[in-house]
Amino acid sequence: MSAAMRAPAGEHAALLEVRDLRVEFPTRRGVLRALDGVGFTIARGEVLGVVGESGAGKSLTGAAIIGLLEPPGRIAGGEIRLDGTRIDNLPQRAMRQVRGKRIGAIFQDPLTTLNPLLSIGRQLIETIRTHLPLSEGEARERAIRWLEEVGIPAARQRIDAYPHEFSGGMRQRVVIALALCAEPELVVADEPTTALDVSIQAQIIALLKRLAAEHGTAVMLVTHDMGVIAETCDRVAVMYAGRIAEIGPVREVVKHPSHPYTVGLMGSIPALDRKVARLTQIDGAMPRLSAIPSGCAFNPRCPKAMAVCREAKPELRPAGATLAACHLYGAAHV
């Protein structure tokens, strides 16, 4: 896969282009800015990992892309383009033709994402028929093929079974079939393995990776599991407090992190091949949305904080082989 860097504002024909995305939640005590100028691209067939602590805005970015922010959350600025066309301001009806058909979604907990009262076949067939001009019988055949493809044994016999008749791992396979059955160009997978048994996680990730490669589907993989990222993704974006701290090819981000936050993050992951006396940890906690520090949001926890870090928000700039939003790199013009 291409490890080539893509400039965030470049004219490169990316499949998905997110530029300066801002998401806000109006509350009684003022507007909370949950995403503050997030920008990245995903090329066709590329797997982009998105990592960060809880509340960093990973899932929110995914929700904004598929146009399903929970009210009162709203996109307050920036734009999202799919294949060059803006999709962040589409009317509901047009956005429905994007969801499922062009952008699929996989959610965290397969125990709750399937409707318990409808058979999995019913849910697949209605999704297929929503997006493709197929008869009931053709859609059923396609549903069976998809169930076979995601590894449901005896798919033809089990298509009329209900979600509760499947295990968690099997249900996540069904969810993947549902997300991919209309062959979208992009899949937003929001922590697809977090709710699963550790022994199942690797299988699901491998399945997702294989299907994406076979169908040329780009994937935005939201997770907080660096192991999954390292194994699966082409590039990775590290998020912190609603902004992207660092983005670049997985190998570079893992081996040579530039942003102090990424450095801390990598230092806190146990590795099997190295013996370290002690895992490092990042002191403090990520700030709440209502109390984000001025300048770089990471500055109170940053071991290398400088005066400028408390005054100016750093933009993404080249730092080694990655892009990092840190005043350590490049001239900070305040």
């Binding site: 399903l68 969801r99 699929g104 994402t113 409707n115 999704t127 929503t130 509760h164 969810v175 997300a179």
Partner: protein, 322 residues
């Protein structure tokens, strides 16, 4: 499934025995039918003769046993007041109450369910808020007051609709129906609104709450993420998931409708079982009261059975194992 239904039916037997025992026990010690039937001027000899004729001089358990044994054959003895078989009285009154209750239930469902779905989908719209505010009236207005107000407006002031009775009824074998004549249907309007309004608002508020809950769930979010049409999401996915609690409440409420019909039937002089019960209570007509209570118990048992069957139909998770 059949085994479970059979066990449900078996469970119903002790329930009915207990209800029969209670109703009989309570009413045996309430009032004195003999003095009511014979009046103030009866001689002691007349009283004793009457007690003996009615079987009231027998021991309590014997009376209960006789009562239950006859009840199984739908024989509840003679009404103290009218000297007619109680079963015949009840059967005469059954169609009026059944038609009233069914019309009210259908009305409550047909209006309450769509309104509940609508207000659940658009919880913050002006129309929804107005409906919700209006529904408070339905929840809090007592049945008798609503009935009297409706009579005042539509019968007395406007003169559009009859204020009492069933209008013309047509007899089919033992069933007299008001559904087939214009005056029968006109007579049905006010009582069924009176009886059904509370249930309607209750169903509406329940469906709304359930819809709000279900629409927040992950599977609805996932259905949206698959680009399904709102109509499919609301009615195919969401409404279905609200049905289990709704079925429970509607089932209980149909029992409640029969109970509330006592008030409504009194207000509208509707010749149903409720009115019969009120007249019987006024006259300490024990056989009628006992039979009525048992009948209501049977109705509740049957409704619960239907509710259980509907659970199986709606929720596949209940179909396998227990």
């Amino acid at each position: 499934m059949i085994a479970q239904l059979a066990s449900r039916l078996l469970q119903a037997i002790p329930v009915l025995l207990v209800v029969g025992f209670l109703s009989f026990a309570i009413f045996t010690y309430v009032g004195d039918p003999v003095s009511i039937m014979l009046g103030q001027n009866a001689t002691p000899a007349m009283r004793i003769a009457m007690r003996h004729a009615l079987g009231l001089d027998q021991p309590f358990l014997v009376q209960y046993w006789r009562f239950m044994a006859r009840a199984i054959h739908f024989n509840f003895g003679l009404s103290y007041r009218l000297a007619l078989p109680v079963s015949q009285l009840l059967l005469q009154r059954l169609p009026a109450t059944t038609e009233l209750v069914m019309t009210s239930a259908v009305l409550a469902l047909a209006v309450g369910l769509p309104l509940g779905v609508y207000t659940g989908i658009r919880p913050n719209g002006f129309v929804s808020r107005s409906i919700m505010a209006g529904s408070l009236v339905g929840v809090s207005l007592p049945t008798f007051l609503l009935g009297i107000l409706l009579i005042l407006f539509f019968s007395v002031l406007l003169g559009w609709l009859p204020s009492f009775g069933r209008g013309h009824v047509v007899d089919f074998a033992h069933w007299s129906t008001g559904f087939l004549t214009v005056s029968g249907l006109r007579s049905l309007i006010l009582p069924s609104i009176t009886l059904g309004l509370f249930q309607m608002t209750l169903i509406m508020r329940l469906v709304r709450t359930e819809m709000l809950e279900v629409l927040r769930s992950d599977y609805i979010k996932f259905a949206r993420a698959r680009g399904l049409a709102p109509r499919v999401i609301y009615f195919g996915h969401a409404l279905r998931n609200t049905l289990v609690p709704v079925i429970t409440i509607v089932g209980l409420q149909i029992g409640g409708l029969i109970g509330f019909s006592i008030v409504t039937e009194t207000v509208f002089q509707w010749p149903g079982m409720g009115l019969l019960l009120v007249q019987s209570i006024q006259n300490a007509d024990i056989p009628v009261m006992s039979a009525y209570l048992l009948l209501i118990a049977v109705v509740f048992v049957v409704i619960n059975l239907i509710v259980d069957i509907l659970y199986y139909v709606v929720d596949p998770r209940l179909r396998v194992g227990r």
